[in-house]
Symmetry: C2
Subunit: 536 residues, 2 copies
C-alpha cells in the first residue's frame, strides 16, 4: 500500500491542506514520507456525523456480524504483518520482532472481543417475569441489558502502535460493544496508523457495513482531539497516554453540557515489593526477571516497574548491586520519539538532583555531559535509590518517569515498608516477591496493595499482559481516570461502552432478540434470579 | 425515641452548637421540634475518618455478615414503622399510608440487596488458570472480581424520606457492596432521618460492626455536603435530587485532584407517547391511569410523566379534554416543602407565559390571583398544551417541573411525532401506549426511545418502581450523571460501588475466598470462559 498522508473519513479519503507533520525514525533520525495532513473541521464534522448515523445500525448489528467484521480486520492485519511491522519499526524505533508480535496480539484481541460480542453474555441480560396476581400490586415484566453508548472516540497511544492504537483494544472493545469508532491517530506513528486504518476501511466496505463504522483523523496539534471530545454526538472516549494528556481530556469531557465518560489509562509506577525470603530463595532469578521487565521496550510500558521497595539488609544490598550491574551493562536503545527521550532526560535530571536521592545506575542518559555519546534518541537505564522517609516526603518521587528509570526505596524494617505501601499512589499493578516461608504472613500487605492497584502479581513482574476474560488493566487514580472501576484490557473492556436499558411489559416481538422468551441467541440470562440459558 | 437534633458520628452523638434548622409540617404550617444542629467541621472529619477506618473491615466482611446487618436494619425499620411513618408524614405532608408503604419498600430493598451481597454473584468473579507449558509464553493464573471502593457519601432525597434517604437504596447498595456510608441528611425531614439513623446505629452496635459503618450528618446549608464530596478519604457519592444540585456535586467531584464518581439521579420528564390505536381500544382507562400516575404523591416523583405526546385527532382531543376534566377535579394537596411549592408556582408561572403554550388545566396553582385560596403549601395539577413546533423550538418546555405539571405536545402526524421522539432529552423512562393492531409497526419508535431513556414502558405508566434484579433506574443525561451506565434501583445498583482487582499467580491461601479454588462461597464464576459454580 502506498501511503497518502490523509485522514480516512468513513469510506472516503480526506483532502490535503491542513497543517502537516511527518513520521520520524528515531533510530536513524530520519523524517519519513509522506507528509500527514491535519483533518479539517469539515472532515472532523463529517466523521462524527457518519459515526452518529452508523450508531443505530451498529446497535442492532448482531454480535455474530460484529465478530465477522472483527475477524476480517484481524485476518487482514495478519496478512499484512510484514508491511505493518516494518513501518512501525521505522516510526517507533522498536524492533521488528516486537512489532510483529504486537500485530499478532492486536489480531488476537479483535478475535477475542469479537467472540465475546457473538457470545453476548457480557450484556448482563436479566428478566423478571410478570406476576399479575401479586398483592398488593401486580408485578410487571421487566427485561434489561446493556446497549451500546453510541459514537466512541479513541486516542491511539505512542507506545503500542498496534495493540493500543487504530484497531487496538479500545477500538476493538467499542466495536464489540456495538459502537462506531473515530480514531485520533497518534502523531508518532502516522504511517502505521494509515496502514491499519486502510485495512479497516477495506473490511468495512467488503462486509457492506455503514461507512461511519470507522474514521481515522490525523492532526499535527491538539485541536482535532479537543473538538472530538467536546462534540455533542460523541458519547464516550478511550485514551492511553500520559497523566497530563488524559486528565486534560477528562476535564474537557466533564465540562460538557452533557458530560461523557473518558476511560483514560494514564500514569502508573507499578511498585514491586521484594521481601527477604524471596531474596534468600533466589535473588539471581529476580535480578534477571526484574531487569528484563524494567528494560523491555526501553521501559516504555505502562506497566514498567518504577518503584522497587525492599527492607535494607546485606542480602538486599547485594541484590541491588547485582541488579545495578546488569542494568549498567544494558545497551542503549532508541526511545519512541525525540520528545519522549527529551522528557526522559529532563525527568531523570530533575530526579538526580533531589536531596536524599542517589543515582544507582546512570548510564549515559543520566549524565548530561555524556548524552552526546549516545546514539540519537537512545536511552540507557537510569535508576535511583533513596530511603523511605525521603520517598514519602517528596511526592515527585512517586510520579512516573516514562522510560527505563526506577527508584529503589530502602525501608528500615517491615513497619516502614507497610507505611510506604499505604502511601503509594494508585497504580495499574503492584508486585510482591515473597519466599515460601513468609507467604502466609502477607495478608495485610496484600490487602493494602489491593487498595493501591488493579492487578497484584505474586512472584512475577508487571510487564507482559495477558488478554483474557479475567485480566484487569486499570487501577486507582492516577492509573486510570475512573479509579479502576473498569479495565481497558480483556473482555470486561466491553462493559465500558454500554448503558442499561429496561423494557417493561413489552411484547415479545418488540424486544431485542437477547431478551425474547425463546432466548434465540442462547445467552446466559438472570431469569427471576436464576442464571440460565433456557427459554423463559 | 425522643429526637435530639444532633448528627450521629459513628456510634457517638454529635454536639449542639452549629447553625440550626427545623423540620416543617407543610400541611399544618407548623415548625417541628427539635432544632437540628449542623455538624461541625470536627464532626465531619471524625465521621470521614471513622468511615475510612471501617473501609478495610467492611471490604473483608463476608456477604453473609453484610446481609445479617442489613436484615437487622430492615427488621428495626419494620418494628418502628408507626413512629417512622407518623414523623415522616408530618415532615413531608405525604399521607401516613404512603409513608408506611415506603418503610416496607425500604426494608425490602435492604433485604434484597443484602441477599445479593450474600449470594455474591454480582462480584463478577473470573478465573483463568495457568498454562505453564503454553508457547511462546506460559499463561499465568489470573483471578479477578469487584472490590468495594471505600467510604461512600449519600445525599438523601426530599421526595422519598425512606426509600432514597438515610437507609435507602444508595446506602443499602453501598453496604451490600462492602462500603461504609456517611449520609448527608435531607433538611426537609430531619426527624425522620434521625429516627432511621438511630435504628441503624443500634444495629451497628448490636452486631459489633465498626462504628464507621454509618454516620448521619445534618446541615442547615451546603457546606457539609461540599466538604464531604471534596474530602480525599471519600471514594464515591450517591445523590437523588435536582439537576442543579446534582450537577454541582458532579462538577465538584470532577475537579478534585483525584476525581471520584458521583452517581446522581436528577431531572427527568418521562415522556408518554399515546398512539391512535391505544385511544381507540380504551381511552377511558388511559385517562384514569395517566391521571393516577401524574397526580400520585402530588407529582413529586422522579418518574412523574411530564410530557405527553399525541397525534392530533378528534379522538385524541376528546381524550385530552377528558383527562383535563379529571385533572381539574383533583383536590389540592400539600407539596413537600414551602421551597418546593414556591418553585412549582414559579415554574408553572413561567411556562404559562411562553408563546404558543396554552394552559390546559390551571387549578388554583396556575392562577396567581387564586393561590391565596389554596391550603398552605398545596398544589393542584397545572397542565399545558402546545404544538410540536413550539415544543421543539423552546428548550424550557423540555425541562422538568417538579410537581403535578405536564405538557401535552400535539403532533401533526406520525412523522412529526418521530421528530419529537428523536429530540427528547434523556429521561429515566419513556412510555408508549399502542393498540394491538399498531404494535408491530413500533420498532423504529422503540429504537429511538431506547436512545432517550433507561426504561421503556409499554401500555403502562412510569411511576411505581419495582425493586428487582432486572429494573433500571437511570438514563441518558440529564436523567443521571453517568448517562445511564448504572442504575440506582435494583441489585445492579451494587455495581456502582465496586472496582476491579486481579490477582496474578497467587497462592490460594492469599486469595479472597471468592476466588479460591474450592469456591467456598459457591459463586457463579467465569472459569476459563465457562460460567460455573464448581471448584477449580
Amino acid at each position: 500500500m502506498e501511503l497518502r498522508g490523509l485522514s480516512l473519513i468513513g469510506s472516503e479519503t480526506g483532502v490535503a491542506g491542513g497543517a502537516t507533520f511527518h513520521g520520524f525514525d528515531p533510530a536513524k533520525q530520519e523524517t519519513l514520507s509522506p507528509a500527514y495532513h491535519s483533518a479539517s473541521p469539515a472532515e472532523l464534522e463529517r466523521a462524527v456525523q457518519l459515526a452518529a448515523a452508523a450508531a443505530p445500525a451498529w446497535a442492532k448489528l448482531p454480535g455474530r456480524e460484529r465478530n465477522r467484521f472483527m475477524r476480517r480486520v484481524a485476518d487482514l492485519l495478519d496478512a499484512h504483518v510484514s508491511d505493518l511491522a516494518t513501518r512501525a519499526a521505522h516510526e517507533t524505533g522498536l524492533p521488528v520482532a516486537r512489532c510483529t508480535g504486537e500485530v499478532a496480539r492486536t489480531a488476537g484481541q479483535l478475535r477475542l472481543y469479537g467472540a465475546a460480542a457473538e457470545a453476548g453474555d457480557w450484556l448482563d441480560a436479566r428478566i423478571e417475569t410478570a406476576q399479575p396476581d401479586r398483592k398488593p400490586l401486580p408485578k410487571p415484566d421487566h427485561r434489561s441489558l446493556l446497549r451500546p453508548l453510541g459514537a466512541v472516540v479513541v486516542f491511539g497511544s505512542s507506545n503500542f502502535p498496534f495493540a493500543y492504537s487504530v484497531a487496538g483494544g479500545d477500538t476493538a472493545s467499542a466495536w464489540a460493544a456495538g459502537c462506531p469508532v473515530i480514531v485520533k491517530a497518534h502523531p508518532a506513528h502516522p504511517g502505521t496508523g494509515e496502514l491499519v486504518g486502510r485495512l479497516v476501511v477495506a473490511a468495512v466496505k467488503e462486509l457492506g457495513l455503514p461507512p461511519g463504522t470507522f474514521s481515522l483523523l490525523f492532526d499535527a496539534g491538539f485541536t482535532v482531539g479537543q473538538t472530538l471530545v467536546k462534540h455533542p454526538a460523541v458519547k464516550a472516549v478511550g485514551f492511553t497516554g500520559s497523566l497530563r494528556g488524559g486528565r486534560a481530556l477528562v476535564d474537557l469531557a466533564a465540562s460538557r453540557p452533557e458530560p461523557i465518560p473518558v476511560y483514560a489509562e494514564m500514569g502508573s509506577t507499578n511498585p514491586v515489593f521484594i521481601l527477604p525470603g524471596a531474596l534468600a530463595e533466589g535473588a539471581a532469578a529476580i535480578v534477571d526477571g526484574l531487569h528484563a521487565s524494567a528494560t523491555q521496550g526501553v521501559g516504555q510500558f505502562c506497566t514498567n516497574p518504577g518503584v522497587i521497595i525492599l527492607e535494607r539488609s546485606p542480602t538486599a544490598e547485594r541484590f541491588v548491586r547485582d541488579l545495578g550491574a546488569k542494568l549498567a551493562a544494558t545497551a542503549a536503545a532508541p526511545m519512541l520519539t525525540p520528545g519522549i527521550v527529551g522528557a526522559f532526560r529532563q525527568n531523570v535530571g530533575v530526579r538526580s538532583k533531589q536531596p536524599g536521592v542517589i543515582q544507582l545506575v546512570g548510564g549515559e542518559s543520566g549524565d548530561p555531559a555524556r548524552i552526546g555519546s549516545l546514539p540519537p534518541c537512545a536511552a540507557q537505564p537510569v535508576w535511583f535509590e533513596t530511603d523511605a522517609a525521603t520517598f514519602l516526603a517528596n511526592h515527585g518521587l512517586s510520579e512516573e518517569i516514562f522510560g527505563p528509570s526506577s527508584v529503589v526505596v530502602w525501608c528500615r524494617d517491615r513497619a516502614e515498608l507497610l507505611i510506604v505501601a499505604r502511601q503509594l499512589e494508585g497504580s495499574l499493578t503492584a508486585s510482591l516477591h515473597a519466599g515460601r516461608g513468609e507467604l502466609a504472613a502477607q495478608a495485610e500487605l496484600v490487602d493494602i496493595l489491593a487498595q493501591r492497584a488493579g492487578r497484584l502479581v505474586l512472584n512475577g513482574y508487571p510487564t507482559g499482559l495477558e488478554v483474557s476474560h479475567a485480566i484487569v488493566h486499570g487501577g486507582p487514580y492516577p492509573a486510570t481516570s475512573d479509579g479502576g472501576r473498569s479495565t481497558s484490557v480483556g473482555t470486561r473492556a466491553l462493559l465500558r461502552w454500554g448503558r442499561l436499558i429496561c423494557y417493561q411489559n413489552f411484547a415479545d416481538e418488540l424486544l431485542p432478540p437477547e431478551l425474547q422468551n425463546a432466548n434465540p441467541l442462547g445467552l446466559a440470562r438472570l431469569v427471576n434470579g436464576q442464571l440460565t440459558r433456557n427459554a423463559v
